[in-house]
Symmetry: C2
Subunit: 282 residues, 2 copies
């Protein structure tokens, strides 16, 4: 990344706003596009962007050499269909999408050959959305995953890496899009399915007075952005259905162990889960 | 509870030790029995008990008017079978067991009519066990549930309530043993089954580098005391099997919605889980 890089953030939400804030702090020129005038006004007021426009602005797109899409997956794909002729030659582009294989394949197919899309996933977020909640300090404890393909150049991959470094991510990893989506299907998507399903199993809101931390911890992620997560789940359907099936089979095993009072097997399951979970202690 | 009450804690673990500590701070005479000499020595050293004995001690039992069982469920039942002749007349007894109906029924059937067992459940705990981790401040944010039956007296129920007050529980509630066990089957036991099952679904410990807070929050309770929880689950088998079945049915519904790409229903499920979970925000 060169010091004189001109960044453009397309979609100034929680993540896009945090990218703008972090890049501005490092002294880069940052501009932004968003359909919401209030989001642009807020980021200008905070000093997180040098320029901004509502909707589309050809000049801002053309002057950028480094672009970050902060849009939802389908909106990203549509934006490229409509506006990619405005990209300057040699522009480098990345995104923040939580599922990679479909996005990478489709974007790389669509794009003119003189611009490069190097996909990445900042594994950070909050339960709220909107630029008003942006805060680039959320990247400091987080993982940043680059998912290159054969279509990417070493220079392009190095550019995304230096972006993640500028944003102070704790750890930067490289995975194939397929490896990424399998991992995210288990670690993130299945856990969200479980939390949502637990809340939906029955209306137990009358039990709120008796609820302890373990129930709250387990269901925190049941508060979920319905539009974004529906897109992400559908884009990773094959992995997620398989994860649900494997989890459901293990749950059926536990149920049978309980029903038949197989105490030795129940204790073995508890020991195994305890041992594995200890590996995840920080 | 009278100022001159003599408390006996039978089973000086994490909870029993915390009871001893909290009661001693309020000035009560506290003694304890435990099979582990180190636990007794530790509590004496900390000044949490006035007297203690390893194993059984007839004098300590006979001099107590107020007894708290900090034992595992089966050990509690066996203790009463073996030693209840040593109870002084009019002794009041409670426990800390996380499942109530079977314990209450069996203990009240066993006990001589001149002593009263008023069951209760301190909804507090940690992922560790042993008197070395005892800390009565864990009761301050916690619920205390009294589960009386027709066999209990008003005076006995008031005694347990004043015990919970002395230990500074945040909230004291009264439920029937059946209501308690249904509630605990959902809020605590099902959540533990889910966390354990998620860890056991496949060995994903190689993913530790990519793991964020939501996975850690959801699986924290997968570290579980195998002996205690096996007893608790079997004692609440009927409720827990039903909860697992209801959760599994809801999970199968989500899977089908995803498989068939029913986006409207998926969004409805997300909105519902979000709305319900908000009720549990502190």
């Amino acid at each position: 990344m060169q010091e004189e890089s001109h960044f453009l953030i397309i979609g100034l939400g929680l993540l896009g706003g945090s990218y703008a804030q972090g890049l501005k702090r490092k002294g880069y020129h940052v501009s932004a596009l968003d359909i919401n005038p209030e989001s642009i006004a807020y980021a200008l007021e905070q000093g997180w962007i040098d320029e901004g426009a509502v909707g589309f602005d050809e000049k801002l797109v053309a002057q950028a050499d480094s672009i970050v899409f902060g849009l939802y997956p389908q909106a990203l794909l549509e934006w490229i269909d409509q506006h990619q002729d405005s990209f300057a030659p040699n522009t480098r582009i990345t995104d923040v999408t939580g599922v990679k294989e479909q996005i990478v394949t489709q974007v790389q197919q669509k794009l003119h050959p003189d611009v490069e899309f190097i996909a990445s996933h900042p594994m950070a977020g909050r339960e709220v959305s909107g630029v008003q909640y942006a805060d680039c300090s959320m990247f400091e404890p987080a993982n940043f995953i680059i998912t290159p393909t054969a279509a990417n150049t070493e220079a392009g991959i190095a550019w995304v890496r230096s972006l993640a470094e500028a944003l102070n991510f704790r750890n930067i990893a490289v995975l194939s899009p397929a490896e990424h989506d399998k991992m995210i299907g288990f670690l993130s998507q299945l856990t969200h399915v479980i939390a949502v399903t637990l809340m939906n199993t029955s209306d137990n809101t009358h039990l709120v007075d008796y609820t302890g931390d373990s129930f709250r911890d387990l269901t925190r992620i049941a508060k979920i952005n319905e539009s974004l997560w529906t897109e992400l789940f559908l884009m990773n359907k094959q992995n997620l259905v398989r994860e649900i099936d494997e989890f459901a089979a293990e749950l059926a095993h536990f149920r049978s162990v309980l029903e038949n009072e197989e105490t030795d097997e129940m204790k073995r399951l508890f020991r195994q889960s305890t041992q594995r979970r200890k590996c995840f202690d920080k």
